[in-house]
C-alpha cells in the first residue's frame, strides 16, 4: 500500500514535471530559433489579413479602371491623397486590395488541401500500419501508384477534365499530397502498436477504430504536423504554377499566383511593383511555413528518424 502510494506520487510528480517541462521546452526551443518566431508572427499577420480583408481594403478587388492602370506605388489622386498604396495592375485594380484578398485564397487552399490530404493520408497510413499484411500491401501499392505521377500532371489531368474552380483545386492539391502523410503515419503506427497503452486498450475491449484514432493518433501527430507545414508551402507554390498554366481559380478571385502570372508581360516594362509584391508575399509565406516546419522537426528531433 505504501509502495503503491509512493509510486503513485512519483508518477504524479513525473507527470507534472513532464507537463511543465513540456511547455518550457517548447517555448525555449521556439525562442532560440528566432526565425521561427518571426515566421509565426508572419503567419498571424496573414491570417488576420485574410479574415479582415474586406474591412481593411481601401478598394474593391475586382473593380477595374483602365484609365488608371499600372500606376506606380504611392500614386496619388487629384487631391493629393495616396490612392494606390502599392500601385495598380494592368486593369487599374488596386494591387494592395488584391494582395490582401489573395491571402485568403492562399490560406484557404493551403489549409483546406492539407486537411483533405491529411485526412485521407493519415487514415490510410494508420490503417495500413495497424492491420498490416494485405491491407498494408494494397494501400502501399496505391501510394506507389500515386508517387509515379509527377504531381503537376495529376493536377493538370483532373483540372482539365473537371474544369477550374476553388473546390476542384483544393481537391486536386489535397489528393496530390496524401502519400506524404500516409508513409509517416504508417511507420509511426507500426512502432506504436506494440506499445503498452495499445495492449491495454485492446485488453479493455476497445474497438479498433477508437484505438487507432483515439489512442494512437494523438501520439503520432507531431511528425505529421511537420509534414503539413512543408506541404502548405508546396501548395502555395503549386497554386502559383497552376495559375501560370491557366489552371488556377477563376479570374474574379484574386490570388497571389494569378497576380504574379499576370505580371509577366510587365516585368520587361520595368513595372517592378507588379511582380514584386505578390512574389514577396508568396516567398515570405512559403519561407515561413518551411521555417516553421524545420523548427518543429528539430524540436521533435529525438523522436523522429526521417521526416522530409
Amino acid at each position: 500500500m505504501n509502495n503503491n502510494a509512493l509510486k503513485k506520487n512519483e508518477l504524479i510528480d513525473n507527470f507534472n514535471n513532464k507537463k511543465s517541462s513540456k511547455y518550457i521546452n517548447f517555448f525555449k526551443s521556439l525562442f532560440s530559433y528566432k526565425w521561427a518566431v518571426v515566421s509565426i508572427i508572419w503567419l498571424i499577420i496573414i491570417i488576420n489579413t485574410a479574415i479582415f480583408a474586406n474591412i481593411i481594403s481601401p478598394h474593391d478587388p475586382n473593380r477595374n479602371n483602365i484609365m488608371e492602370r499600372v500606376a506606380p506605388p504611392l500614386a496619388q489622386d487629384k487631391q493629393g491623397n495616396i490612392k494606390y498604396l502599392i500601385g495598380s495592375d494592368g486593369l487599374g485594380r488596386d494591387s494592395f486590395t488584391r494582395l490582401l484578398y489573395g491571402a485568403r485564397v492562399s490560406l484557404i487552399v493551403g489549409f483546406a488541401s492539407v486537411f483533405v490530404g491529411g485526412f485521407i493520408g493519415i487514415s490510410l497510413g494508420m490503417i495500413a500500419g495497424y492491420y498490416g499484411k494485405l491491407t498494408d500491401d494494397v494501400i502501399m501499392r496505391l501510394a506507389d501508384i500515386q508517387l509515379a505521377f509527377p504531381f503537376i500532371l495529376l493536377a493538370i489531368l483532373f483540372l482539365v477534365v473537371l474544369g477550374e474552380g476553388l473546390i476542384n483545386l483544393i481537391l486536386v492539391l489535397g489528393i496530390g499530397q496524401w502519400v506524404t502523410y500516409a508513409r509517416i503515419a504508417r511507420a509511426q503506427t507500426i512502432s506504436q502498436k506494440e506499445k503498452e497503452y495499445v495492449e491495454a486498450a485492446k485488453a479493455l475491449g476497445e474497438s479498433h477504430t477508437s484505438i487507432i484514432f483515439g489512442s494512437i493518433l494523438p501520439n503520432i501527430l507531431a511528425p505529421l504536423i511537420v509534414i503539413a507545414s512543408f506541404n502548405v508551402a508546396s501548395v502555395i507554390l503549386a497554386e502559383a504554377s497552376l495559375s501560370f498554366l491557366g489552371l488556377g481559380v477563376p479570374h474574379n478571385i484574386p490570388t497571389w499566383g494569378a497576380m504574379l502570372a499576370e505580371s509577366r508581360d510587365h516585368i520587361f516594362a520595368k513595372r517592378w511593383w507588379l511582380p514584386f509584391f505578390p512574389g514577396m508575399a508568396i516567398l515570405i509565406t512559403v519561407l515561413a511555413f518551411n521555417i516553421i516546419g524545420d523548427w518543429l522537426r528539430d524540436y521533435l528531433d529525438p523522436r523522429l528518424k526521417e521526416v522530409e
Binding site: 501508384i145 508517387l147 509515379a148 509527377p150 477534365v161 508551402a233 502559383a240 501560370f244 520587361f268 518551411n290
Partner: protein, 325 residues
Amino acid sequence: MFIYILRRLPQTILVIFGVTLITFIALQIGGDPTYLFVSERASAEEIELTRIKLGFDRPLYIQYFSYLFNIMRLDFGDSLYYRQPAMDVILETLPATIELTLFAMFIAIFGAIPFGIFAAIKRGTWIDGALMAVAMLGQSIPSFWLGIMSIIYLSLPISWLPISGHVPFLMPIFQGNFIEGIKNFPTTCLYLILPGFAVAFYSLSRNARLIRSSMLEVLSQDYVRTARAKGLSEYAVVINHAMRNAWLPVVTIIGLEFGFMLSGVVVVEVIFAWPGLGRLVFDSISHRDIPLVQASVVVIALIVIILNLIVDLVYAKLDPRIKLS
C-alpha cells in the same frame, strides 16, 4: 540481386496497371468521353459514329482492357490537334525533355554535393548560414518567376548566353545520326544552362540541405572521430570516409526527384521555348487535346516508374542491408 529484381517486378507491373487505371478513370469522370475526341464541328451522327468507332458504347471493363491492350502496343490513338498518332508526337518531343531533365538532375545532385558538404564543414559560421539561407530561398521561389528573371537579367545582358530555343542532341542520336548529334552537343549544353538551373534550383536547394544534415550526422559518428584522432585533415576525413555514406539519402530520393522535377519542367519549357514533352502537355491542355494529354501523362508516369526501379536497384547494390529486407 536477380531475386530482388524478380521480387520487385510484380510490384512495378501493379503500379503500371494502377497508373493506367487512373488515367482511364480521369477520362470517364467528366461524363461521356466521346465529346473529348471529336472536333468542334461534329454533327450528332458523327459523334455517334465516333462513339462506336472508339468503343465508348461498350461496357466499362471491356473498354479498360482494350485501353490497356492498346497501351502495351503504345497505341494511344490520334492527337486531335495534330491529327497524327499521339505516340508519334510524343516521341518527337521526348528527347528534348530528357536532355533538360537529365541536365537538371545532374545539377541538382552534383551541384548540391559541394554546397552541402561545404556548409557542413563550416557549420555554425556565417558561410553555413548564408548557404542555407540561399537554399531556403531556393525552396520558396516559383520556378517560372526564376525563369523569367533569369532571361531578363542574365541572358539579355550576357550576349553569349542564349535566351530561348533548342538545338537537338539526343534526337539525332536516336535517329542514328551520331555525327550531327555530337556536333550539336556543345551548343545544346549552352542552351541547357538557364532552363536547367530554373528546373533544378528547387531540388538543388533541397538536396543541399539534405546533404548537409546527413553529413553532419555522419561527421559525428565514431569512425569519423577515429579518423580525426588519427590526425587526418578535415578534408581527407570528409572525402574518404564521410562522403561514401552521406550521399545515400540523396540516392533514395532521386526517383521521387525526377517526378517532382517534371512539375517544374512544364513551366520552364514554356518560358524558354524548349520544345519538349512538358510544353506539349501545356499546349495540349490549351487545345483540350485529351488523347494527347492522356498519352503524355501515361508515358511520363511509365518513365518515372522505370526510373524508380532502376534507382532502387542501384541503391540495393550500394547498400547491402536492403537486399535482404
